[in-house]
Symmetry: C2
Subunit: 313 residues, 2 copies
């Protein structure tokens, strides 16, 4: 945890009593991985498509979105058990987007998290279909009476609507299209922010929203969590760009410098490294400020925001 | 309408008083096309993805699934207005599946309904993303409070679950995978039926189910409509295979004989042409039998079942 004199955080943040983020993250990752396996075992038959779905979802992601969903539910006074199926569904949507982004016709990546991408490990048709299937399975799970308590039917429909807007052609898909169209041209900072708000921000915001809805957040809490999520989502992308320049390839699981090679507009390229780091810190400060009135059940959310700018993978 | 002495239909069917299917189909197609445009105008911003979405959905499909959805709602005592957003969402899912099936890595088709396929008209990345976006938009519409009346929230969640199962990796996507894997090998009739039940039958059944749920069908009606849909869905595929052999290419909008060229297992190839035609007639008879106790509001469903084996495109 950040406790040095160079800390960008308020004294309140620094003085938060012992909260071990690493233990929290490992524990939630284990829960999420267990739940995803359980969902797969219940919903999927044998076959090449389902093998590809399992392969990509199990390729070792950090589970940032489902953890944010759980942490937002907890911060709102709810429980992990209320949102576990939602958290897993969101991770499936995230994974589908990675599979399709990696396709030869898109980013043409052969490596993801240190493992062959889906179209390399299987083939292109299987990759397309397994992505389609993960997206579809997410909506199946979000609407499955086995997971949705009767009292939570309206919330489920609200969350399905929010997630589909975030993942759709005005959100994540628009972001991927902008990303591809902008390769080779230098974007201005506003255009870059718009791209990232769509490509990665929208689903991160939706993860927090879903957690808040199922956790029972009131209007004021909801607004605060929205602001938290918007800032955290953007900070997450800025750090991704920074790590793409200076990260450790053995830890990143993909080639360092690949953004520059592709002439992608990145924060370090547009703002410079020092300004990018400052920008990320400012965003995290804003995220922490948004939820400063929350009680100690919001510790995980605070720690995750700080972790974003401290991580090295 | 079939009135000759060779009619495979029961006297009751033949004596159904004047119902003009062509007028019904044209009127519903116009309503559906109008609604899809309205939905697009409300939900989509300008851009290449949305242009591709509009292009593919407007490429002139017969709107079989949304019409079945509407007709099932009417047969259950409901109204077209209750299910219009559902009918359009299902057509979007159907269109997404065609876009992805046509991709170079899958069926590699350049022509669909007489027009260039999406990846030819645009490019491959745009085709993949516009398919993803149509699938996602369907779920957005199915959960949108603008279209879902408060009293229909549980029904909406039930229909989302049913559609996502039908369209997912145990349904339509599994069918497409089986279809690709089976190219070049001769399937037995049971395996072929399983393939088609998944690839085309599942979403047709889901269209009827959605109409029945929103139309307020009771348990007995629901069971009858399920049987109707299962038989109609299969008959539809058998006729597709028959028309692929003997159809008029100018009317089909795609190459006649393409199934044989690809060594796809088809009903005419496995059963012979005469047996295939008999099989289709028997399926339609079963479909009509399933709903024989329904009142005259089921006329469209009856006429559609007969139309399946009388169509030439």
């Amino acid at each position: 945890m950040e406790t040095s004199t160079k800390s960008p955080f308020t004294p309140m943040e620094i003085l938060t009593p012992m909260f071990d983020l690493n233990t929290y993250l490992s524990s939630k990752q284990a829960d999420i991985n267990h739940w995803i396996q359980k969902l797969f075992d219940r919903e999927l038959h044998a076959g090449q498509i389902t093998a590809a779905m399992r392969y990509s979802v199990s390729a070792g992601g950090k589970r940032v979105r489902p953890i944010l969903c759980i942490a937002a539910a907890e911060a709102s006074g709810g429980f992990q058990a209320d949102v576990m199926h939602v958290a897993c569904a969101i991770e499936m949507i995230h994974t589908y987007s990675l599979i399709h982004d990696d396709l030869p016709a898109m980013d043409n990546d052969v490596l993801r998290r240190g493992k062959p991408t889906a179209h390399i490990q299987f083939d292109e048709a299987t990759a397309v279909l397994s992505g389609d299937a993960l997206l579809t399975l997410a909506f199946q799970i979000l609407s499955d009476p086995h997971y949705v308590k009767a009292a939570k039917i309206p919330e489920s429909l609200q969350v399905i609507n929010n997630i589909s807007i975030a993942a759709g052609c005005q959100g994540m898909i628009a972001g991927q299209m902008l990303d591809m169209l902008s390769e080779g041209s230098r974007l201005k900072i506003d255009a870059m922010r718009d791209l990232h708000k769509k490509k990665t921000g929208a689903l991160i915001e939706s993860s927090v929203f879903a957690g808040a809805v199922f956790g029972g957040a009131g209007d004021v809490q909801m607004k605060a969590l929205d602001a938290y999520a918007a800032n955290v989502g953007l900070a997450f992308q800025v750090l991704d760009d920074i790590l793409n320049v200076r990260g450790d390839p053995s830890k990143m699981g993909k080639a360092v410098g690949s953004d520059a090679h592709r002439e992608k507009s990145t924060y370090p390229a547009v703002l410079g490294m020092a300004q990018s780091e400052k920008y990320a810190r400012d965003l995290v400060k804003k995220a922490l400020h948004a939820i400063e009135s929350f009680d100690k059940k919001s510790q995980p959310l605070r720690a995750i925001a700080r972790y974003i700018i401290e991580r090295n993978t």
